[in-house]
Point group: C2
Chain length 405, copies 2
């Protein structure tokens, strides 16, 4: 049993509690970790919440509780987040955080304190929200020299740029829409000027190259000057998209890191990372290019990353690490394909009328030289098979049937 | 120090030796693991190879060597790969493999034997080549229920389908080209009929749902029946691409897994995974969609994944696991942006002639209503800045400058 205390019961803190409680059984089954939330620190009370009784207003209740193994810092801001993290590590407790500001500013010191005290300071949620990127950089890719990192690290700016691209919107209008939808804050400076991305790229660069650069020491250019015309021209020229990119590479012995809007060629996997999604492309000397893609922000995605760190500590503490667990499937465990539901693409040797005799729920259709291709609304595999039979009975040959993802 | 024996010195085996030797220092610095190759089993000798003296023809040299901690099985095929893996595990040695055939067929038994003997059986390289996917499924995503997995798991078929899409090629011609380029084998059956993808999707499904289904028990449909017309019509209708997808999901208590070509809508991140690249999309209940993208085959990418398993065992054996290591960057560690080289997009208030007065290395250009946008060949930041100055001196206003990724 691993006891967890959560500092701050805002978006990430309450999400962390939710993930631990909702998926207790999956976590136990897959990893053997038995996680228990013991304290929640917040200035507020939460009457009616299932976690009400765990709330304390006094950090000492946590730091003095010898049974607390892991402290999750989800307060945000530099202080007292940094001070509490430091105190927890000095008290021999592991600390897990989503706070990129603290990691980018005080990470070196906190990692040193953790090492001295035989505990760990983990921060998977500080970059890329829920996307596994910090642990892959630390372990899965550790046998590679990193030639470069390019990341779409900020969902707000990516949403704005996607709007500018898809609707031809100007920056100011796209920002306003992002604020209306809750993707941008009332004061969006940290996002649109690139400061948020700067904190994230220095953390990734530190993992790749072993040196933490202060975010204040790198070139940081936001997206406020991007004109709708730029987006249009870039697209016209060779299909380029424009994205805000945090980039780091080695130049000789030095580290080059900066944040700036970039044109992305169509062949680059970052080209189509749209809306609030993040994508991080890591160029490795052995593996080549690898991209990690997913939700870079949001309550449950970020909390998912926090809990992955908590589990990592739990399983290493209890030495249950890392073998897959499964049994052979019985026949009864396997569902037949006929249960599968999806839209279907058909191509028939026949006209639109032949199609309409058999199928009515058509989403797309194209007809050429006596052949008709069309896509249906979702149906079961069994229904799709019935359609094939019906075409045959009508004397219409089905040339292709392909399932739509 | 961790002693490694490699079974089979073919593509993956020799790649594994190369990654361990070439990146010994990075591995040591980043993870603390000190890896030594002690034996290489192969029927052949390798005179002149730097590994010549390590070669043995007798598996007993490895199984009886108490100093061997980890056996890398890179032989391929079912036998004797399975038999040697079993013997190694029973002798208390960890086993790492890239052999999806053995994992999909004998994985349950080998995992049980490993557990009984207090060692680990790892197979990161068996799915997605060099892409970290097995360990993320086992740990980073373990706090999520997996709603579904959809993967482009076979590089050969993805290359063929990409050719059919980009050049309008028919299947047979695209296959021939893939064979010429070395992307498809002389007997391509296992790839084009989907058998390779079937082995991989049952492994992923086992990690997600705890039950290993025999690849023979799932619906497996290859790409041989895809017509160039289907590719064309799919694209015409709403920009769909066609990819060979291994898919798994839970239907009630049962697992539904199958391999088939699918139409992929443009909004799906798998839509643009092209050529020999793989992409694996995992739908998680907390995190949402996450995609892992990279090289799904090839000597060094696959070897990179093998070595990541070796390191995972090494650091867990020596209990050095998992804290990031870095120091603060000194000024001297930081490269100036002026060193950065990339192509540049400019938009100027002026005509093509104004552009040509200052820039000659133009890759793309578009001119409209007195404004000209263009993309240059790569230049340093310092050179780009000089261009800006030159435009100003000529009285031409630079409206935008954006770096190209």
């Amino acid at each position: 049993m691993i006891n967890v205390a959560i500092l701050g019961f805002g978006v990430v803190g309450s999400g962390t509690a939710e993930v631990i409680e909702k998926n207790k059984d999956v976590i136990k089954t897959k990893t053997g970790a038995d996680l228990v939330i013991k304290h929640i620190l917040d200035l507020r009370d939460f009457p009616g919440s299932p976690f009400e009784k765990l709330v304390t207003h006094d950090f000492n209740d946590i730091i003095n509780d010898k049974e607390v193994d892991i402290v999750v810092e989800a307060m945000g801001g530099a202080h007292p987040a940094y001070d509490f993290s430091k105190a927890a590590l000095e008290a021999g407790k592991h600390v897990v955080t989503s706070n990129k500001l603290v990691v980018a500013q005080f990470g070196t010191e906190l990692l040193e304190i953790a090492e001295k005290n035989g505990v760990r300071y983990l921060f998977e949620a500080s970059v890329g929200g829920g996307i596994p990127i910090i642990k892959p950089m630390m372990s899965d890719l550790a046998q590679n020299r990193i030639d470069g990192i390019s990341g779409i690290l900020n969902g707000t700016t990516n949403y704005i740029l996607t709007q500018m691209s898809e609707n031809g919107a100007e920056f100011a209008d796209a920002l306003k829409e992002a604020q209306t939808k809750g993707y941008a804050e009332a004061d969006p400076t940290s996002d649109i000027e690139g400061h948020d991305a700067a904190r994230k790229i220095v953390i990734l660069a530190a993992l790749a190259y072993g040196k933490l650069i202060s975010p204040d020491d790198i070139h940081c250019e936001g997206i406020t000057k991007i004109d709708a015309k730029d987006v249009k021209f870039a697209e016209e020229m060779d299909g380029y998209s424009i994205k805000l990119i945090g980039h780091a590479e080695k130049v000789g012995d030095k580290i080059l890191a900066f944040v700036a809007p970039r044109l992305i060629p169509t062949a680059n996997p970052l080209h189509d990372v749209s809306d609030v999604f993040n994508g991080i492309l890591v160029n490795c000397d052995m593996l080549g290019d690898a991209m990690f893609y997913g939700r870079g922000a949001g309550k449950l995605p970020t909390a998912s990353a926090v809990v992955s760190d908590v589990i990592d500590i739990a399983i290493k503490s209890e030495m249950k690490a890392g073998s897959a667990k499964w049994t052979d499937a019985a026949d009864d465990d396997i569902a037949p394909l006929s249960d599968h539901v999806c839209a279907h693409y058909f191509r028939i040797a026949g006209c639109v009328k032949c199609m309409e005799k058999v199928c009515d729920n058509i989403v797309h259709c194209v007809s050429e030289n006596g052949e008709t291709a069309f896509i249906t609304k979702p149906m079961t595999e069994a229904e799709a098979f019935e359609k094939e039979k019906a075409f045959a009975e009508n004397g219409t040959k089905v040339l292709s049937r392909i399932r739509v993802l």
